[in-house]
Structures are given as C-alpha cells and as structure tokens.
Symmetry: C2
Subunit: 370 residues, 2 copies
C-alpha cells in the first residue's frame, strides 16, 4: 500500500461518523509501521474521542498497551484533517501524537478553524515530527465540505432542494405540488435529510402543505446498526408561523423546532424563537443557527424561501429532482432570479452528480469551491 | 452463439447504414448453417440492394456461387425486419429466400408498411419456410423508430432540440441565446443533425440568428470512411421568410431548401415552396415533407416553433441540453404549454438517455411508444 492508499483508508473510516459528528468534522486516522496498519480509528460522535485517540486505543487493544507504545514510536500517521492543538471536550490530539513519539504525519488539509489552522502542525513540527500536508487534499476537503463552510463562512452548510417538472415548474397555480417527483425520488430526499442538522421551510409551507419534516427511513435504509439511533434534524421555520399545535404535524414528534421571524409567535416550550428587527434577516438568522450547533440545513421550500436563499447567494449545494412532466406556463416557476445583462455573466453552478430515479433525474450542483 | 446473438449481430450490421438508408429502414441479415455464420449483409443505401440480397452475395463471395447455393439451402436466416414481398427499386427479398430454399427465418418485427405487413412472412410460410417473428423485438423496433413513425403516422420522425439554462430559459429578453450551452454540447448537436433528413427552424431564427443549418463535423467525427460522403440534410423553414440570398447563410451551401408558409415568398430556383391556405398548416406541412422523402426532421427552434410542435403533440423525441446557469425571470421560457388541471394528468415523457458534456446535461426523452 502507498501513502495515498492509507489516506484513502483514513477518509473511509472518517465517513463512518457521518450521522453523528456534526458540528465537528469527520476524521479518520490510520497508524502505519513498516508498511503495515497497526491501528485505525475515527471520530465517532460529537463530544467523544477524536480519531487519533481512537486509532491509538485500537492499536493498544490489538497488541497490548506496552507493545503498542513501542510500535507507535517511529510510526507514520495518516489523518485527513490537521490534529487539534487545543483543549475542547477532549485533550488535544497533538499532545498524544508527541507523547507516543510518532515519526511522520501525513495530513490531508489544515484545520480551517482559525484557532487551530496550522497551530497543530506547528506544535508537532517543533517536537521533531516530519509533517506532510496536502495528501489527497481535494478528497479531504470534499469530505468535510460542511465543516469548511462552517469555519470559513461562519454559517451552516446550506443545501437547497426542489422537485420540479421538465418545464421548470414547482407547483400548479393553485399551489398543488403533490407529487411532482416519484416515490423513489422522495425516498432519496429523506437520505439528504439524514445528513443535515436542520430542515428549513417557509411558514406558508407549514400552513398549507403541513409536512412532518422528519426522516422517514429505517435504520437499515440509512446504513445504521441496530444499536445506533436516528438523530432527527431540527425543524426550522422562516417567517411568522400561525401556530396550531394540534393540526400542524411538526408538533407531533419531539425534535427541536426553531422559528426565525420579525414578529412574535405564540410562545411554547417546544419552540425556540429568534426575533429580528431588520426586514432582511435571513443572513443573521442562519448565522445564529450555526451558533445553536445547526451546522447544516436542508432548505425544502417553498419557492419563496428557496429563491430568498438563491437571491442572496446563500447556498452551497442545489439538489433538483426533475420529473419528465409538463406543468405548463400558468404554473409556478421553480426559480425566480433577476436576469443577467448578458449570458456571459450569468450565475453558473458546478455539476457534481447526476442520478436517475426511474424517470426522475436528480442533479446535484455546487455553488462555489469551498 | 444463440439465436438472440445472431439477431443482435443483424442489428449491428443494420446500423452501418444509418446515414444512408432513409427513407428506407435499416436492415441487417445474418445467414447461419450448423451454428456458423456463412454470410452477412446490410442495406447500405437507399435504392440499392436489401440486406438479404447482400448477405447472399457475401456468402457467394466467401464460398463461391455453387457452394453458396448448397450452403444456404436449409440454413437459418436472421433479419431485424420482415423481408419485403413487393417489387420496388429492387426485386422482393422473399423471392430470393424461397429460391435459395432457406429452412428457418427469424425476423425481429413485421414490416409496419401496410403494403407489406405480414405479407412477406405469409409468402415465405406458404413456401414451407419456418417463421419466428419477434426475436429481440424491442431492439428491432427501437432501431427503426424513424421508419415505424413514417409508416404508421405518415409523417417524418420529429426530434425537438433545445439548449436551456438551469432555470428553463431559452434566451435573454433581448433574444440573446449565443451561447447557453458549451462547445461540446453544440458539437454533439451536429451529430443529431447527421441522423436526420431535414433541419427545421422558424423564419425568425433565420432572420435573427442567421444559422447555416449544416453538419459541421468531419468524416472521422461521424464515423464515416474516406470514400463515403456526408449527406447534408434539407433546410426547412416554417413561416413567411423574408428572403435575402446574399446575407442569409442557408443560401451559402447547396443543400435543399424547403419553405412552408401561408403567404408567397420570393421565387428562387434553389427553394421548394409549399403554400398553405389554413392558418394551422403544421401537420399538413410535415405530412407533405414525408412525401418529399424527408423521413426525419430535427426542429431546432426558436421557442415559437418548438412550442408549436409540442402544443400539437407532434414530436417523437425531445433533446434538451441544460447548462448550469441562471438566466432569470425576465428571460424567455423554453416551454410554453398550457397547464393541466391536476398534476396527475400532466403530459409525461419517457427518459431514454442522460449524458454529460462538461457541466451541460443532455437529456433525451421519447414522447410515446412507437
């Protein structure tokens, strides 16, 4: 195995934490001695041990504490993200790597967190460890897109999602939108819900469509083990919701409800309400959401909410399910941006994935490089 | 090799004639004796020998005329379409197969031409040949979608093509549409041109965009050999074109020009003009085009022309190149159909292919089963 293969393994391990680590990044770690893996681990859950510590523990478990100490001395360590240098919920990983006298550290990227960025690496270098930063850099950044946005833009990672007809309509004139996409597409959209910490809709969507905003997939569909739990994302509502606890389905499950609006809403124990003075409070609202540990949100509509994010260029990803149907000129358009003066200067996205669910086409776009 | 493999080979051979056989179908033929292919052929060009005759000739060439006669007697014949039973440009193939005393005939589909449909097969059966119809039926029908539409609907096969932005716009408000799609997409669209007998645009497209409407690919890009020629499709214009021979690029190459309109146009030797009295002459016009051997057309726009075909449900295929850009609400929509009362009863297409050209997505839809 080559260096890149060990890093690829670290990324693979990191992904095992995908449902549980937010707002932390996903991190995997591989310890290598004489070309053999002697220990591996990953950050499993927010607040618990980091990947490096888990890899050391894994080595101890395999070879016994004393042998592990000798094995790790002089070893190569592969980790997709710079080891932390500060005490947070757990002691800094850099200290452990120094204590165990590793020889070479390969890390995919520096930590974008300004408090760490380069400091972990510096500390290790000063202790005589050889450092190589940038192995599989692109893949390591891609893995933690959410975390990079959080740290650099100080807001949640934002995914906009919509189902539309072939002619770009999101609903009939009377508001009917059930169902433009097919059941396979709708099931897939629950998979996206499982990867975020909050689902946002405009108040009209709650009042008119009355969705539950929950993940309705079972553990096996999510790739979870029996002893793992499904963390339901927070339900986030934009605007002055007319609350009706008995009728509105968002109140029928226990997960967190957050409302951001300019006016007061009915005060309830089950609701966190953020009130804003400015007319344009969207940016402030989402920044506040990150402070509340909502590191990623899926914006599910309706069209007004969707286009508010687009118009403010507040999004990282756009997911479109396009059905092969025509809803006609009288129906509501999905997008509502202002036209550019010339085609050359039009806003352009990057296509990252095209999938097919029967006759629906799912397209995933990125907004910009993070 | 199994029966289905021999039929697949016949289909493969048939495709070699794809640029040259229209308005005839593509046909391939494989002669098999004791499990071995003893001859194969295909219909190479309109007006020339049919596939069955070419397969017999191929067998003669390989084994000599006398041996071939003995070999073909008692053989199995695989052909994707029912052998013809009437004299046209060439003597009917059924007669040859009877004369050569073949034993079993496998044909993919019956000929949809009402003058033949089942008659070729009947003739062969009466001569004691065993017939099996329907082997790889779906693939054989797909191969000759154009021919089936021609025969059953008495009109050309119609492909609608458009490039659009992610938000479903075909041009800016001022008409600017160059270029929404990228150069790879535009190159691919020339490949579609090479498979049709006519390219249609509305008169405004000629007057405003001034396209050449020619295939601008070289032979190698089309998969043609050096000694094969590129047949340029006819240029077909819908509406009362204001002719300007010196400025309009359609006049700068020699291929056929056909105009269909309600009013007179400037009379030129180079133009065939079809004049109609009815306001709604589109259907009559395309029927007339088939009578003029235009068995397939590619409708390239503009939006008015495109939507006239859509509104009349006069199309077999829709090809959309979607760029990852936003052209905004003020821009011109690609589609302009009337909205359905309910989503359930909306017009639906069938997705047949999704391709990617850099960040453009090409989607090919079929209208209905032919």
């Amino acid at each position: 195995m080559k260096a890149a293969d060990f890093m690829a393994r670290a990324i693979e391990l990191a992904k095992k934490g995908r449902y549980k680590t937010q707002p932390n990044p996903m991190v995997g770690c591989v310890l290598v001695k004489d070309g053999q893996i002697i220990g591996e681990g990953w950050h499993q859950e927010y607040g618990k041990d980091h990947a490096e510590i888990n890899a050391i523990k894994n080595c101890k478990k395999k070879f016994g504490a004393k042998n592990a100490y000798e094995l790790i001395a002089g070893s190569d360590v592969y980790v997709n993200l710079e080891p932390c240098s500060i005490q947070n919920n757990t002691p800094p990983c850099s200290h452990a790597l120094i204590k165990y006298r590793i020889k070479n550290l390969f890390c995919g990227t520096l930590d974008p967190n300004p408090k760490i960025n380069g400091r972990g690496v510096k500390l290790l270098k000063e202790s005589g460890i050889n450092i190589k930063v940038g192995l599989l850099k692109k893949e390591c950044k891609e893995l933690n897109r959410i975390f990079f946005v959080n740290q650099k833009q100080l807001r949640p990672y934002i995914i906009l999602k919509s189902a539309q007809s072939l002619d770009g309509k999101i609903a009939l004139k009377n508001g009917e939108s059930n169902w433009i996409s097919n059941s396979e597409s709708r099931k897939d959209s629950h998979l996206i819900r499982s990867r975020v910490r909050g689902i946002m809709v405009g108040r009209a969507t709650i009042e008119v469509d009355n969705p539950s905003l929950t993940i309705r997939l079972d553990k096996s569909e999510l790739g979870l083990k029996k002893n793992e739990s499904i963390d339901q994302p927070a339900k986030i509502i934009l605007g002055n919701l007319q609350i009706n606890e008995k009728k509105q389905k968002i109140f029928s499950s226990k997960s967190r409800i957050i409302i951001g609006s300019r006016h007061s809403v009915k005060q309830l124990k089950t609701i966190q309400h953020l009130k804003y003075k400015k007319r344009e409070f969207l940016e402030e609202f989402i920044q506040d959401l990150l402070k509340m540990d909502i590191s990623s949100i899926l914006v599910e509509g309706g069209p007004k909410t969707l286009n508010a994010f687009l118009a403010n260029d507040l999004f990282d990803e756009l997911v479109l399910y396009t059905a092969p149907s025509f809803l006609g000129k009288e129906s509501k358009e999905t997008f509502n941006l202002k036209a550019p003066e010339r085609i050359k200067i039009s806003k352009k996205l990057k296509v990252v994935k095209i999938e097919r669910f029967q006759d629906d086409i799912k397209t995933t776009y990125y907004n910009r490089k993070v």
